[in-house]
């Protein structure tokens, strides 16, 4: 899970834990990609709006690095205009904050099951 907002990151990490899913959190893309280079990442949750390296950039790098990883994109912005449909079309799953926790968790579960 990658999000630059510490309170969001902490809350989402907890949410996954509460559903019995082991989650690792990263506050920026670089640290995450470094981890992903050495470890298997079954499902990645990426925030789009982040400084230095945004979610879309992280996603394309991750795809190169580990094509088998499933990716969920999240964003707090609803006004991504043209970009939004493009992103939606290109990623497996997309959530706009604030989202329904059950839907979010079940999407993760689905990805995890699909992978295994």
């Amino acid at each position: 899970m990658v999000d630059d907002d510490p309170s969001v990151l902490k809350a989402l990490g907890r949410l996954l834990n509460s559903a019995g899913i082991a989650a690792r959190t990263f506050s920026d893309g670089k640290a995450f990609l470094a981890y992903a280079a050495a470890n298997a990442v079954p499902v990645a949750v990426l925030d789009i709006c982040m400084p230095e390296m945004n979610g879309l950039e992280v996603r394309s790098r991750l795809r190169e690095q580990s094509p088998q990883s499933r990716i969920i994109m999240i964003t707090g912005r609803e006004d991504l205009n043209g970009q939004l449909s493009e992103i939606k079309a290109s990623v497996e799953t997309f959530f706009t904050k604030p989202f329904d926790d059950t839907e979010f968790l079940s999407a993760i579960q689905t990805h995890l099951t699909a992978r295994s």
Binding site: D5, L12, R14, S18, C49, G76, D79
Partner: protein
């Protein structure tokens, strides 16, 4: 009637006629010594003439001796008057000579009365009858007294005194002085010589004539009267000229009043000693005083709005003790429904010694201007508000993001708690942590809403002290996600010693937001790594600070540098073209100017300078 009677009574009449106007002048105006002395001299000559006439008609030696004795009284008065007149009228003359002449004449007078029959005769033995002007007149016969020389000495001294004074006056070489010396001085000298000479010849029995002293003295009187009359004529001329210039002054005064009135300007003069004020008609109209009301400091006090009363009164007090003038704005309350705004300017008027004479000044009715200002201000605030709402619209995405973050955190934390609880894994410590985070994120969401509301709300536009560094930081925070979205960077270079300014914080925020949003728009076509906005604050000098927002875009077309501030001018497709116009008017309302230029090294730079707050910043 005989010639003697006719001539002597005419002499008396002429003398008295000459005396009267000068006596009147003396009585009616502040007593002028010259006029009084002249009148005295003329009356004395009349007295002498009466004496001479009575002597000519005397029938016994005792009678004629007594009459001659009495005639010395007006002679004494004449000497005193002549000496005094010359001294006063010429403004020069040796005092001691004059006093000596008077003193000797006084001694002569004493001897005249102490040793009868009189000064000139030790003894009058008889009467000589003479044929004079076709009739018989009496003259005294007897032994001439040696004291008679004393009288002649006195006359001689008068002569010398007048001669000396006349010569001195002549040498001063002023046309008027020369005329006086010649006419008055000359005639006195000639006619005294004549009078004294004739008397001496009569006493020496060379001439067998009655005393004719009054004739030469009449001539002297006429010379004096001529001069004084000339003075009167000149005074009349002067008065006429004064009247002309007074009329000119009055006309100029009227012109000033007219100019003052058409400029809504009231003139006033306040005399603190008498506690009385002169106020022009316009001023009475402004203050609502009736045309003839007497105006004291209290009259004004009662009309000044209570909020400014102390301020105005202390300014008036201050102007009385200090040479500095004052200027202030205050309201005039004419009635409950009728309040006017005025500016009053005043200063003290002092004499050469620095003593306070009066306060003078003008009061200007600025009610109409004030109303227009107020309307403009309301208008400006409304425009600013509209523009703020528009800015908020532009930033809606960013604001939503700011709000969505804590909302997501809250929702997630709450559902985690539920799930942990369902699984029976909710420890007390974790629950507390979750609740704490939920409440912190609620706070955070609340703050975002508050800042939006504060920004969009129609403020009452109250001024406050603002730390612009803080404002810049706030604005940068508000725009955080916009910056991320646009992949742009904001750099701040803040002057750590920046003084405070006085203004409306939300308005300044609005200007900064506007400028930053413009800067971001200008860089859309640049590669992400080159999109940089630099916000700088700096102290220009003790009275001004500068804030600038610079982008790294392509800059502004040189011919459009001013045009961008015009209404409805926009280079953006969605833009209304109001933002910069309103930003400029906001900065102008803060006493500054918003300007644009192309920065060195590329990009546009918008900057404004505003005055530092008046109070000392702590």
């Amino acid at each position: 009637m005989s010639w003697v009677t006719v001539i002597w009574s005419m002499v008396v009449a002429v003398c008295l006629t000459m005396a009267v106007p000068h006596l009147v002048i003396c009585l009616r105006e502040r007593c002028n010594r010259v006029n009084l002395l002249f009148a005295l001299a003329a009356i004395a000559v009349a007295g002498i003439a009466v004496g001479e006439f009575a002597m000519m008609r005397a029938e016994t030696p005792a009678q004629i001796g007594k009459l001659q004795q009495l005639t010395h009284l007006p002679i004494f008065v004449l000497v005193v008057a002549l000496v005094g007149f010359v001294r006063s009228y010429f403004g020069i003359g040796r005092r001691w000579l004059g006093y000596a002449a008077i003193a000797i004449r006084l001694v002569s007078l004493a001897i005249n009365f102490a040793y009868p029959p009189n000064l000139n005769f030790r003894e009058v033995t008889g009467i000589r009858h003479l044929h004079f002007l076709g009739e018989t007149v009496s003259t005294p016969l007897g032994v001439i007294s040696p004291w008679t020389r004393l009288g002649e000495l006195s006359s001689l001294l008068v002569l010398v005194f007048v001669l000396d004074a006349s010569v001195t006056l002549w040498r001063q070489n002023k046309p008027e002085g020369r005329r006086r010396a010649l006419v008055v001085g000359g005639s006195i000298v000639v006619f005294i010589l004549l009078a004294a000479g004739v008397s001496a010849l009569i006493h020496a029995r060379v001439l067998t004539l009655p005393y004719l002293i009054s004739f030469p003295f009449l001539a002297i009187g006429m010379a004096m009267a001529f001069e004084l009359g000339y003075d009167l004529f000149r005074a009349a001329q002067l008065a006429e000229r004064l009247q002309v210039s007074e009329a000119a002054v009055r006309e100029r005064e009227a012109r000033i009043s007219l100019a003052a009135e058409s400029a809504n300007l009231a003139l006033w003069v306040y005399d603190p000693q008498e506690d009385v004020t002169w106020l022009s008609d316009k001023g009475r109209e402004i203050f609502g005083f009736t045309p003839n009301e007497r105006l004291s400091a209290d009259s004004f006090r009662s009309r000044i709005h209570p909020d400014e009363r102390d301020l105005v009164m202390s300014a008036f007090q201050g102007a009385q003790t200090s040479p500095d003038g004052f200027e202030l704005e205050h309201r005039v309350v004419r009635s409950e429904q009728d309040t006017r705004w005025v500016i009053v300017r005043g200063r003290s008027l002092r004499d050469e010694a620095g003593k306070l004479l009066e306060l003078i000044g003008v009061t200007i009715d600025i009610t109409a201007q004030k109303k227009a200002d107020l309307e403009n201000q309301t208008h400006r605030q409304e425009m600013a508000h509209l523009s703020r709402v528009a800015v908020m619209g532009e930033m809606a995405g960013s604001l939503a993001h700011e709000l969505n973050q804590p909302l997501l955190a809250i929702a997630s934390n709450a559902s985690s708690a539920r799930r942990f609880l369902e699984r029976g894994e909710l420890e007390r410590g974790l629950l507390l942590e979750l609740l704490q985070d939920i409440s912190a994120d609620s706070q955070r969401a609340g703050e975002v809403i508050r800042s939006v509301r504060g920004f969009v709300r129609k403020g009452d536009g109250r001024s406050e002290l603002i730390d612009l560094n803080e404002t810049v930081a706030n604005v940068a925070r508000l725009m955080r996600s916009d910056l991320l979205m646009r992949e742009s960077m904001v750099l701040t270079e803040l002057d750590p010693k920046l003084p405070m300014i006085e203004g409306i914080a939300v308005h300044i925020q609005q200007v900064l937001l506007n400028l930053i949003l413009n800067a971001l728009d200008a860089m859309q076509t640049l590669p992400a790594t080159k999109r940089r906005v630099t916000i700088t604050t700096r102290t220009v000098n003790e009275t001004k600070i500068e804030v600038s927002v610079r982008d790294s875009g392509t800059g502004l077309p040189a011919d459009k540098l001013e045009k961008i501030f015009e209404h409805f001018y926009s280079t953006k497709r969605e833009g209304m073209g109001m933002g910069l116009t309103i930003a400029r008017s906001i900065i102008a309302a803060h006493g500054g100017m918003l300007e644009a230029e192309n920065a060195e090294g590329g990009g546009a730079r918008f900057f404004f300078r505003i005055p530092v707050a008046q109070e000392k910043n702590s």
